[in-house]
Amino acid sequence: MVDEGRAPTSPEACAAVRESLELLALDALDAAEEAAVRAHLTTCAGCRAELERLTDVVAELLAEAPALVAPADLADRVVAATLAGGPQAGAAGSEPAAGVRARGGVRRWVVGAVAAAALVAGGLVGAVVGRATSGGGEAAGPRAEVTYEVRTGTLVASSGVETGSVVLTAGERPTLVMRLDHVAAGVAYGCAVRTTDGEVVEVGSWTPADTTDTTWAVPVDDAVVHATEVLLTGPGGLTLASAALT
């Protein structure tokens, strides 16, 4: 409980608030109590940090809930509400659309680029800026801006047949996404890249669980970010296809 007669960040005020932080982390306080504690938190970084640690403990507890078979159409519904229909198609009670519209436009542009890469040899070059508020819907935090530089390429087999596409992002959390038109379940596919100095660096391998498991996304490090070419290998290190990145 917060005594309003005390200075907001006095040791006494902190001690009083700390008695309520476990309850706040569990959303177990009444509205009035919660408002008083949150008022203190706006001025006290120490108590905010303590709440964050307690919230992490609660988050771990959530894994105690039993897993259940999810609705069969859950993925369809999520895709329809996000990628296909855009933010406006979301279910009632979705986020405010303000910061989302700009971002939706960016997403569509990138999806277009990936699709185009499958048709046009050479791919596209671009920088994508995504804006998002941090956190998972907790109290409004600082805004985070994430920049992706995106390079794409079309995977072409030695026979000349196009077999998929790759997307390599630079910037924060560089990532390689490889998409194959067809995969064989249980086969270990390998991925490597050729760096600017001509060296081949192994990125990792991937074994599709079934034939619908056609997309592989993997974090990469700085040696890979400036790659000029992506190589797809099969069992025994045989190169199946390659994609020039532009």
Partner: protein, 204 residues
């Protein structure tokens, strides 16, 4: 041709994509942030059972739980670019969103508090065969063990608040104890849980 390389030259990437491996969730989220439909589907497929299970546990209403699960992934999609893999696993992050959305709905609807009998069901082991079951199982065993160390009344209070979505006032009502007692049980229970879990981390 892929040449063998010293380990240090290898990309900092998981060697393979084991089903349910949390290690590439961050990469999957980057792909989702870039609007990749297949990545979105893979992510929903991987985490759907746990998200839906928590939503059902909290809401105890199938259609509401389905709505909460869908909105959890929609929100994850919107915030994918800001996901911080250093701080929490994607699963933990998702479940936090699920709980937030479910509690907002529950508080709006003001349902009657869960009966104590329901606690058994809340802690029942998973029967769903989920893709991430192996990994989730390991983390879960750790939390289950930590919970088991709590005195009964503290464990019940913490579980009712965390997984039942009950306020301290509702815990007091269900347990037939004064509000102050319920608050103390929740507070001490969560403190002890935190101490146990951090002790395990320190022990390696």
């Amino acid at each position: 041709m892929v040449t063998a390389l010293p380990r240090s030259r290898r990309a900092a990437a998981p060697a393979r994509r084991a089903p349910g491996a949390a290690s590439d969730d961050g990469a999957l989220l980057v792909a989702i942030a870039l609007g990749d439909e297949e990545a979105t589907r893979a992510f929903v497929h991987r985490h759907g059972p746990q998200v839906f299970g928590l939503a059902m546990t909290l809401c105890r209403d199938r259609s509401l739980a389905e709505d909460v699960a869908q909105r959890t992934f929609e929100r994850a999609w919107r915030h994918a670019a800001s996901f911080d893999g250093e701080r929490a696993s994607a699963r933990t992050w998702l479940l936090t969103i699920t709980r937030r959305l479910a509690i907002d709905e529950l508080r709006r609807r003001r349902p009657s508090p869960v009966a104590p009998d329901d606690l058994t069901a809340l802690l029942a082991p998973s029967t769903a065969d989920t893709e991430g079951a192996g990994l989730a199982g390991v983390e879960r065993a750790r939390v289950t063990a930590a919970l088991a160390e709590l005195p009964d009344e503290q464990r019940r209070a913490v579980v009712m608040a965390a997984l039942g979505g009950l306020s301290a006032r509702e815990v007091a009502e269900v347990e037939g104890v004064p509000l102050g007692t319920a608050k103390t049980r929740v507070r001490l229970g969560l403190r002890k849980l935190r101490a146990t879990l951090s002790r395990e981390v320190d022990d390696g």
